[in-house]
């Protein structure tokens, strides 16, 4: 639009006026800043100079001692050990490269570490010490001390570092600590100053990370006199910080060690839960790794060995791994059917070896079929057709609800990394995640714990404990914090008819103690400790029609990755349940063969609180068990670690 010169002139004048007003305000502010600067730097300069001198009496943070971690009997799992390190001060060293070269002739130095130190030196002020070698032996420290005159700027220092004296046994539960990284800091909104201390260790994984707030403690402060270059001359006084809280776990370190040793060589998980309190007595996953390696900073070669192992040592299979529960899920289907009134104790189903659902045949694991089957027989001999049949009558939603009631498909609150929720699917779930309708075939698969159904070994143990007690037992990992007992996970009675539970328990008893039960060979014959259980074998592959026609290939003939997972859940003693044990052996083959013996051995170890007498075993097994006990006993003796000896 066209503007008249008049309005334009007026607008221009007003703009000039306002610009001058705003400019004037800006200059007034600049003047104010100058005045403030004058006030601080000229009028009050002496006072601030004094403060600056006092600042030479510097406040330094004292890193708090990290809380220790014990097992339920007070055996140490995570502790703080003195560690010696060698530091260099760039300013005093003069020619850093030359000094480092001299030092490397004296003691072994790590190339990576040196590179890191050089990079750090570039970032920090020249008078700040930079670590050259961490966790140095006492011998090497002495060498450095003796040669001190030839090594300007190099000094030995002592500090505390985390140490895990049980090595592999607790790697998955407790996790490990490591120095604060930039990535850690970037995740925090307002990091505490103590985290800025070089190489301050914080929890990275597992309990150490989840309970960081309890374990870390509060930093103390000390007043030290420093000279003009910042070197500490003497300490004036100190205010002690608050050490982190000591945590006592519910785990029995000896049992954990036994379980770890018993599973050695397999890719497996075993969970022992106390039926009365929900205490996790053992929660072991094999293979494992040495967490101390991570505290020191793991080498690339070691790390690659861990990540490339097809048995996945870094994964915590007990809570993080989820598996189709297979036949161990049948108790839930049975309970859902009993509660819905679909089946009674006497009702039977005929098993010809398969059930036709629509046009598709769902096979029983036993090709010839089981004949007439009632509830007890169906669990005892693990008939699949019985469950296809009753599940179709009950419907998936009731089965899924029952699974959740028993702790499957829900996330249990445990202070460990990556606790998986598993999956107890229902119609709504499939609709929302897959956008497809639930099919009857899905129900048939779910009824025997296949298809979408997923559970972690820990969840299976919780399920078994709940079946054993009829209460909603919840798992507990931390027994006490700084001596203060934490609430137990005994739980309220479940809203399930006790008579129905009793029926299922009785059938589980038969699984282990009836001559025709699938786990009869892995029974306990000590009368006061009779065990009840359920085997499971979960498929990791589909059996094709052609395969079925040619005769299903035996597990042993398949490559390891394609073999079935072996599962076993159990509780004992039958009349007064004390422990529930869940075992999953990845690609182990059949549950009765690969998982049940492990569960029995671990169960007996727990019940006898140590090596059980041979009388608890069936006569036929005793010789073999004796051998095994001897071998494991040898394995568990404190192992002298070659790298540990020279690392003081």
């Amino acid at each position: 639009m066209k503007r008249t010169p008049k309005t334009q002139g007026a607008a221009y004048k007003r703009l000039t006026r306002r610009a001058l007003v705003l400019g004037g305000m800006q200059f007034a502010f600049v003047g104010g800043l100058a005045a403030r600067m004058r006030y601080m730097q000229v009028d009050q300069a002496d006072q601030y100079r004094l403060l600056a001198e006092e600042n030479r009496i510097n406040i330094r943070l004292i890193p708090p001692t990290r809380g220790r971690i014990y097992d339920r009997n007070g055996q140490i799992i995570g502790q703080n050990a003195p560690s010696y390190r060698i530091v260099i001060v760039r300013e005093d060293a003069g020619d850093v490269d030359k000094v480092i070269a001299k030092l490397s002739q004296l003691i072994p130095l790590n190339e990576d570490e040196i590179e890191r130190a050089k990079a750090e030196m570039k970032r920090t002020a020249p008078f700040l010490p930079v670590t050259l070698a961490d966790q140095v032996t006492w011998e090497d420290i002495s060498k450095v001390a003796i040669n001190a005159p030839a090594l300007p700027g190099v000094t030995p220092e002592v500090g505390l570092t985390r140490q895990y004296p049980r090595y592999e046994d607790f790697a998955h539960v407790v996790g490990y600590v490591g120095p604060v990284s930039d990535y850690d800091l970037s995740k925090m909104e307002d990091p505490e100053p103590v985290l800025m201390i070089p190489r301050f260790q914080i929890g990275k994984v597992g309990l150490e990370a989840k309970k960081e707030d309890l374990l870390r403690g509060k930093a103390g402060a000390k007043r030290v006199e420093v000279n003009a270059t910042g070197r500490v001359m003497r300490e004036l006084d100190r205010r002690e910080g608050q050490p982190g809280a000591d945590l006592q776990l519910t785990i029995d370190a000896d049992l954990q060690e036994y379980a770890q040793a018993r599973l050695a060589g397999e890719s497996a998980a075993v969970v022992v839960i106390d039926c009365e309190t929900g205490d996790l007595r053992a929660i072991s996953s094999t293979p494992s790794f040495d967490p101390n390696l991570f505290v020191r900073g793991i080498s690339v070669a070691d790390y690659q060995a861990l990540t490339q192992d097809n048995h996945r040592p870094l994964a915590n299979k007990t809570v993080q791994g989820t598996y189709p529960p297979g036949s161990t899920f049948k108790m839930i289907t049975a309970l859902a059917a009993l509660e819905a009134g679909v089946v009674g104790p006497g009702n039977t189903v005929y098993c010809p070896g398969y059930l036709k659902v629509g046009s598709r045949r769902f096979h029983c694991w036993k090709r010839g079929g089981h004949g007439m089957v009632d509830l007890e027989t169906s669990l005892k001999r693990s008939c699949d057709v019985y469950y296809y049949d009753v599940a179709l009558r009950v419907g998936i939603d009731k089965i899924s609800d029952m699974a959740r009631k028993f702790g499957l498909g829900i996330k249990h609150d445990l202070p460990m990394s990556a606790v998986a929720a598993g999956l107890a699917p229902n119609q709504e779930w499939k609709q929302t995640t897959h956008g497809q309708d639930w099919l009857v075939g899905d129900t048939a698969n779910a009824s025997i714990g296949q298809g979408f159904m997923l559970a972690s070994p820990m969840q299976l143990a919780v399920m078994t404990a709940r079946i054993a007690t009829g209460r909603s037992v919840t798992p507990r990992l931390i027994r006490s914090v700084d001596g203060v007992e934490q609430p137990t996970g005994a739980g309220e009675p479940l809203d399930v008819n006790p008579a129905n539970l009793e029926q299922v328990r009785n059938a589980m008893y038969k699984v282990s103690n009836d001559r025709r039960g699938t786990a009869y060979r892995s029974r306990i014959i000590a009368d006061e400790f009779r065990m009840a259980g359920k085997t499971g074998t979960s498929q990791v592959r589909n059996i094709t029609k052609a395969e079925r026609a040619a005769g299903v290939i035996r597990n042993e003939d398949l490559p390891w990755e394609r073999r079935d997972h072996a599962l076993y859940v159990s509780f004992a003693p039958y009349d007064n349940p004390k422990y529930a044990v869940a075992v999953v052996v990845e690609h182990g083959g059949g549950g009765s063969k690969a998982a049940a013996p492990v569960a029995r051995d671990v169960m007996l170890q727990a019940l006898y609180n140590g090596t059980p007498p041979l009388e608890a075993y069936p006569v036929a097994d005793r010789d073999r068990i004796k051998e095994q006990q001897k071998r494991l006993e040898g394995d568990r003796r404190p192992k002298a670690r070659p790298d540990e000896k020279d690392r003081a």
């Binding site: 800043l33 403030r36 925090m188």
Partner: protein, 379 residues
């Protein structure tokens, strides 16, 4: 069509444009940036890495950008104002959705060679948009309620997006710069009086909200205000920065302790000594003389911007120049107030001196627009 297009023939063309640049402004920018290089060299303990060298490279890039922007006629930038504004809103939305999480806030986009903070960009594009708006709006409409409401909305959109990041400091700067531009354009002063009254009311509400369910600021923001009001309450935690900063500044005295001799900035734990708190080091090492010299340089930059703004008859050029200089003023005023203990720690860098690429690049591009307004001014 504005007056500008009629006067095109009188503006210089080709290489002669360079001669008509606002050279004093260019030289001032170079000297301020050089002071920054020196300080970055000093806080690194007498080393060009890790800060001084990349900063010099970025300043070189910034200068190039400024020259390129300067040579493009100002009317092009006026026509681009709306687009620029929309682009910066888009980038703000992008970081909101996909931004890298850094220091507790999603603020930047990683471009590979640098991190772009869209909120920095928004400060300039907002000024451009408002200047274009008031250039277009007939002046008799300026104070009518509807025509006042529109720029208010235009200011509040980016402000809220920045506040959500959450970046309180930048949000306040955006509000102040936008309000300042409206004031320059001639909006009736009664509006400003009303807003200030409402602002006082709002601040008291914010403080009343503390500890209730509808708490308006995050806990750490309240804590920053607390420690600002009384740094001694938390000498090891958040108050540490302010206390240390004041001691370092005050102990500089008249002449300072000398280059590379500042003990305080070396001995303490200040994690941001190369960014937000760099003025502390300068004031400690060069004292009152050094500090006021920098202040003087900043003041001269404002004056030369004012000269450009008042010597052009093009309304867009005047407004955009004044808006950019106001932005620049707010930057250093807030930062200096912060290190002198006059304002809470809000995380605003010292312009052209603090280490940081995106703030400087955006600022140099903005000065390019000022230069363009100067070169292409109708005379």
């Amino acid at each position: 069509m504005s007056y500008l297009e009629y006067a095109v023939k009188t503006t210089p063309t080709g290489i002669r444009k360079v001669l008509y640049m606002n050279w004093p402004l260019t030289l001032l920018l170079i000297s301020v940036a050089s002071a920054g290089f020196l300080m970055l060299y000093s806080v690194a303990g007498g080393s060009w890495s890790p800060w001084a060298e990349p900063q010099m490279e970025r300043f070189g890039l910034g200068l190039t950008v400024m020259f390129i922007v300067a040579l493009v006629p100002i009317w092009f930038w006026r026509n681009m104002s709306v687009v620029a504004y929309l682009v910066s809103l888009g980038l703000l939305l992008f970081v909101e959705l996909f931004g890298t999480i850094g220091m507790g806030a999603q603020r930047w986009i990683d471009l590979g060679f640098m991190r772009l903070q869209p909120s920095e960009l928004a400060k300039v594009t907002l000024v451009m948009l408002l200047a274009a708006y008031y250039d277009w709006l007939p002046s008799y409409k300026t104070s009518r309620p509807l025509w006042v409401l529109i720029p208010v909305v235009l200011i509040l959109i980016p402000t809220f997006m920045v506040l959500r990041q959450p970046d309180l400091g930048t949000a306040i700067l955006l509000l102040a710069a936008g309000g300042g531009l409206m004031f320059l354009a001639g909006v009736h002063w009664a509006y400003f009086a009303a807003v200030i009254a409402a602002g006082v009311g709002l601040v008291s509400t914010v403080f009343k909200s503390r500890g209730t369910d509808w708490q308006l600021l995050k806990d750490y923001q309240f804590r920053r205000i607390d420690t600002f009001l009384d740094p001694s309450t938390d000498p090891l935690g958040a108050g540490y920065h302010i206390t240390q900063s004041k001691i370092a500044l005050g102990s500089g005295g008249w002449n300072g302790r000398g280059f590379m001799q500042g003990t305080q900035s070396r001995l303490n734990f200040l994690p941001e000594k190369h960014t937000d708190f760099i003025f502390t080091t300068l004031a400690e090492e060069f004292g009152f003389v050094g500090g006021t010299t920098l202040l003087l340089l900043y003041g001269l930059i404002l004056i030369f911007c004012l000269v450009t703004a008042l010597s052009t008859k093009d309304r867009y050029s005047s407004l955009v120049t004044l808006g950019i200089s106001l932005n620049f003023f707010l930057f250093f005023a807030v930062n200096m107030s912060m290190v002198m203990g006059l304002a809470p720690v809000v995380g605003v860098p010292l312009p052209m001196v603090s280490y940081g690429g995106s703030a400087m690049l955006v600022l140099m591009a903005a000065f390019g627009i000022v230069q363009s307004a100067h070169i292409h001014r109708p005379r």
